[in-house]
């Protein structure tokens, strides 16, 4: 890995080579990813930029073990995820991956605390769910149900839920997509804090180019291909972002 300008002196966590994915949507075949190769490094905060339909969600789903590629391979710490069985994928998600979704995807019948417990129940060395909620500033909303929380609060519960298991990789799919500017920044703050304090390798996918400023590294996808891969010289704090 030495000599790679993007290496940053850290260990490669994720190695993607020649990944392609196509699927049928209704009666139309969609080429979501075309021969994508990428490496991500430990502790990195990367933003994947792309317009809708650029293939970024497909990529993050494959990285998270939610989807399988049509061809190509993906290695996590040298283990080939693309060759994993269903059981291994489940274990991979359970141990190593934290997910944050655009629409939060909280279980509406469970309270904030219970939504986090959903993860801590099955993780190997989780943080106490209360701690996770404290990390996102919701220690006073433990027993509220999703319907009683604002959008930003719901997303912060989702982040707490994702990080409570102490994942090695935090995958955020349009985390601010459903939020207004102020709330969105608050949520990004939390993500940045998790990355900084816990050292979790973090991937944020978004169509919002302004968010790129907070990242160590920016990867741009268009029509299923990587069109740009650059490193920011300085990371802005989310409060400094403007859009």
């Amino acid at each position: 890995m030495l000599g790679n300008p993007l290496d940053n002196g850290h260990e490669s966590v994720l190695k993607i080579s020649d990944l392609s994915k196509s699927y049928l949507m209704g009666e139309v075949r969609v080429e979501a990813l075309k021969h994508v190769s990428l490496d991500f490094y430990s502790g990195e905060l990367a933003v994947l930029l792309g317009a809708s339909g650029s293939g970024k969600s497909t990529l993050i789903n494959i990285i998270g073990g939610l989807d399988t590629p049509s061809s190509g391979s993906l290695f996590f710490h040298g283990r080939e995820i693309t060759a994993a069985t269903e059981t291994e994928l489940t274990a991979y998600r359970r141990r190593s991956i934290g997910f944050v979704f655009q629409f939060y995807n909280l279980i509406s019948s469970l309270s904030a605390l219970e939504n986090v417990q959903l993860v801590t129940e099955i993780a190997e060395d989780p943080m106490p769910p209360q701690d996770a909620l404290r990390l996102v500033g919701l220690e006073h909303r433990l027993n509220h149900f999703p319907a009683q929380l604002s959008g930003g609060e719901q997303q912060r519960v989702a982040i707490a839920r994702a990080v409570a298991k102490r994942p090695e990789l935090l995958l955020c799919d349009e985390p601010t997509g459903a939020l207004d500017f102020q709330t969105g920044k608050l949520v990004l703050d939390v993500i940045e804090k998790v990355n900084r304090e816990l050292g979790t390798t973090t991937l944020i996918i978004t169509h919002n180019a302004s968010i790129a400023g907070m990242a160590d590294r920016v990867v741009r996808l268009s029509s299923g291909e990587i069109s740009e891969d650059r490193r920011n010289l300085t990371r802005l704090s989310p409060s400094e972002l403007v859009w």
Binding site: G26, T68, Y92, F99, F103, I107, Q117, I122
Partner: protein, 787 residues
């Protein structure tokens, strides 16, 4: 509690209406299964215990008179375990408090109590005193119906002499679990009873010392009943044997055996229907649940929950309401079973009818219901398990609508958009619509089949008590009488019409099949007794040839035109051949009819009469009854009206209960199906309906779209349900029919009207329940959230 379990419970609570409906359907099915299988087991066990404890015989025979020493010969027949001889005679009784005469069957018992076959269970009072020939033990139903008790007196006309009898005990015997007068079909507890009396007293009264006229025996294990019967028939033909027969032809045992068989049919049929509906309901409810929770399934999998975890979670949605249904159904079944046993206790006189609630039945019921839950949940759970998490993140692919029947150019413009929406929705998923129609129609069918038995019994009563029999009184003679007896009877004041018949026991044979039966020789089929089939059609008596009921013709394998061998069992015991003139589908029993003159000719004697049908002047009934009470030579008297009343009373009680149960269960079924269908439609279409509201449609208009679809399905289901109901009734009629009776297939308009009304009301109620939710639809919220 784990978060997933909490999610399960909270969401079950949210879906409580639908889940309760599922639980109620399961509960109905399980309660029928548990109650009926407990009743079946209890009846079987009570019968087996009763038979073995009181030594119920295996083979029976009535003879005219045989010497007692002949028993030794019987004992030497290979395979005969024990033998018992008795004197049995039917007499007229004068019962205190009863205007009409009653009939008593006198059965001899040993002077000193010793274990005998068909032994007595003394319920209260005591055994007879050997020194007192007037002491008797009387059957419990007769005593209770007449409010008599040990210590009271009865008068019997024994061999022409009035004899005062003292009741000392109340008894029961395995021979008379179903206690019915010979020649009658239904019990008339007030007018027929069994009286056990000292052998010595009967010997002297009937001039039978050293002789007997009734034989019962038990067989050693594994012995062929048929062989023993054949040997007995050979041995006793010269003593006027009426032919030996096994338990299957013993009336009381036959009735109970048939009853147990019928209960068995109900065990399989009804729970089957209910569990099938439960499977259907779980299927649609869970499929919908999984569809609405696609994103939740995705997130669970994304967080690392395995497919099994997710599968088990959704299986819980099927298992918990099923478990609730199984528990409630078991409790309800235990209670219903006890109630049913009480009804059986009215029909059947067991020494002890023990209601046994068996763990095995409950275990089987639970197993059955969970299998149903599993089958019902399978599709949805499989979908939840197999849903790739990334795909689950995306909304379900849009439903593809194609042009349908309404899109023909000629129709397109005329039809309002709301109707188009309804029809397209049904067109889009024709299978779902058809299955929903089928399920609602099952409820209609159960209603029809439940009330069908009412109509059928009504027809039975109409045919048997009005069309076929028009006499008031039947006098059965104890010995065959010469034709001159007609003069004596005609001279009685108050007799308006009189008609006679001969009853001649024969063995009918056709190739290798045979059957012991009595031929009824009728003077005419147009007088007091007629030949009427189960559909009420009247038959003429052919001048030549024999008329067989279809059940008998089936047993013998004959058709009209065949020639049947007759072996007369009494008198000159001639062997004759006779033409099968006609086959008639009667409701009750096995019968053979023939013109009286022809029967007399075939029997080769001058002609005798066994009984008289009388129509009497009701104003002179009292005096006539008094005459009958002391008339010698009369073995039995039957009152048609009393028989009808007692039958109706008996049937009314049991049938009202079973129809009530069936009707309520059918309502539960209909409600569950209609309500769940509407709820699921509402959930599937909430967004669409809200959009329509936003676009300016009124609440009434969107209600029309949603409920119109349900109404259309229900309306389609009604005629289908009628058809299935008729088929189901035909199946029931076939399954419940036996040698003893055939249920006529009749349906009154009221039956259909009733089913129609019940379904319409149930649909309205469930429609109203859904309508309330429709009014509460939060337009903004629905539009905001992602489907």
């Amino acid at each position: 509690m784990k978060p997933l379990q909490r999610k399960l419970l909270r969401e079950l609570l949210r879906l409580k209406g639908q889940m309760l409906a599922v639980a109620a359907v399961v509960a109905c099915g399980i309660s029928v299964f548990v109650s009926m299988s407990s009743v079946q087991y209890s009846l079987e066990a009570s019968r087996a215990r009763y038979y073995s404890r009181y030594r119920f015989a295996d083979v029976f025979m009535q003879v005219k008179r045989a010497p007692e020493f002949y028993l030794e010969t019987v004992r030497r027949i290979a395979g005969v375990a024990s033998v018992n001889s008795r004197i049995v005679a039917d007499v007229t009784l004068d019962v205190p408090g009863l205007d009409e005469p009653a009939t008593g069957r006198l059965v001899s018992i040993p002077d000193y109590r010793t274990p005998v076959l068909n032994d007595l269970f003394i319920r209260s009072g005591r055994y007879i005193d050997p020194g007192k020939p007037e002491e008797v033990i009387v059957s419990k139903p007769f005593l209770e119906a007449n409010r008599l008790a040990p210590g009271d007196h009865l008068t019997a006309v024994i061999n022409g002499r009035k004899k005062e009898l003292l009741i000392v005990g109340m008894g029961l015997s395995p021979e008379y679990i179903y206690e019915v007068q010979p020649g009658a079909f239904f019990p008339d507890k007030r007018r027929f009873g069994v009286i056990w009396m000292s052998r010595r007293a009967l010997e002297s009264a009937f001039d039978m010392s050293g002789a007997f006229n009734d034989l019962s025996l038990t067989l050693a294990h594994g012995v062929s009943e048929k062989d023993v019967i054949m040997q007995l028939d050979n041995l006793f033909s010269r003593y006027g044997s009426l032919g030996a027969y096994g338990r299957s032809e013993q009336l009381s045992d036959r009735f109970i055996a048939d009853e147990i068989k019928q209960v068995g049919i109900q065990i399989t049929f009804l729970p089957g229907v209910f569990l099938a509906v439960a499977v259907f309901l779980l299927n649609i409810v869970l499929r919908r649940l999984v569809a609405t929770q696609r994103d939740q399934i995705a997130v669970l999998k994304a967080m690392g929950y395995s497919n099994e975890d997710v599968g088990i979670h959704y299986l819980g949605f099927a298992m918990i309401p099923t478990a609730v249904g199984a528990v409630v159904g078991t409790a309800l079944g235990a209670w219903l079973g006890r109630g049913l046993m009480n009804i059986y206790a009215d029909f059947y006189n067991f020494a002890e009818l023990v209601y046994t609630f068996r763990f095995e039945n409950v275990a089987l019921a639970v197993l059955l219901s969970f299998t149903a839950a599993l089958v019902g949940a399978l599709g949805a759970v499989r979908k939840a398990v197999s849903l790739p998490p990334a795909e689950a993140m995306r909304p379900d692919s849009p439903v593809i609508y194609k042009p349908g029947i309404l899109d023909r150019a000629s129709l397109r413009r005329k039809i309002p958009v709301s109707i188009k929406i309804i029809v397209r929705n049904l067109e889009r998923r024709p299978w779902k619509a058809s299955i929903t129609v089928l399920m609602i129609s099952l409820a209609v069918a159960i209603l029809i089949a439940g009330r069908y038995t009412y109509d059928s019994v009504d027809r039975m009563v109409q045919v048997e008590f009005a069309e076929k029999h028009r006499e008031d009184v039947t006098l059965i003679f104890n010995n065959p009488k010469p034709p001159s007896v007609a003069y004596t009877i005609a001279s009685l004041k108050g007799v308006l019409e009189h008609e006679y018949y001969r009853e001649e026991p024969v063995r009918m044979r056709f190739s290798h099949r045979f059957r012991r039966i009595s031929i009824k020789g009728m003077q005419s089929a147009e007088g007091l007794q007629r030949l009427v089939d189960k559909n009420g059609r009247q038959f003429a008596l052919p001048p030549d040839g024999i008329v067989l009921t279809s059940a008998l013709a089936d047993i013998l394998g004959v058709r009209p035109g065949d020639r049947l061998q007759l072996e007369f069992l009494q008198g000159r015991q001639l062997h004759r051949e006779v033409l099968v003139g006609a086959v008639i589908e009667e409701i009750l029993g096995l019968s053979a009819y023939m013109n009286l003159d022809q029967l007399n000719r075939l029997a080769g004697d001058g002609g005798v009469l066994n009984a008289a049908y009388l129509r009497i002047d009701q104003s002179k009934a009292g005096a006539l009854y008094t005459t009958f009470k002391k008339m010698p030579g009369v073995a039995g008297i039957m009152m048609l009206k009393a028989l009808k009343e007692s039958f109706e009373e008996l049937i009314a009680k049991s049938m009202t209960t079973s129809t009530l149960i069936l009707t309520s269960f059918a309502c539960v079924l209909a409600f569950a199906v209609v309500y769940n269908g509407a709820r699921i439609s509402l959930s599937e279409r909430a967004r669409e309906l809200s959009s329509l509201r936003v676009l300016g449609m009124s609440k009434g208009e969107i209600s029309f779209i949603l409920l119109g679809e349900q109404a259309l399905l229900t309306l389609c289901a009604i005629p289908v349900g009628f058809t299935i109901g008729i088929a189901l009734s035909a199946l029931l009629a076939h399954a419940l029919s036996s040698e003893l009776y055939r249920m006529p297939l009749v349906f009154s308009a009221y039956n259909f009207l009733f089913a129609f009304t019940v379904i319409v009301i149930v649909s309205l109620v469930s429609g109203l329940a859904v309508h309330r939710r429709l009014s509460g639809l939060d337009l903004v919220e629905v539009l905001k959230t992602r489907e």
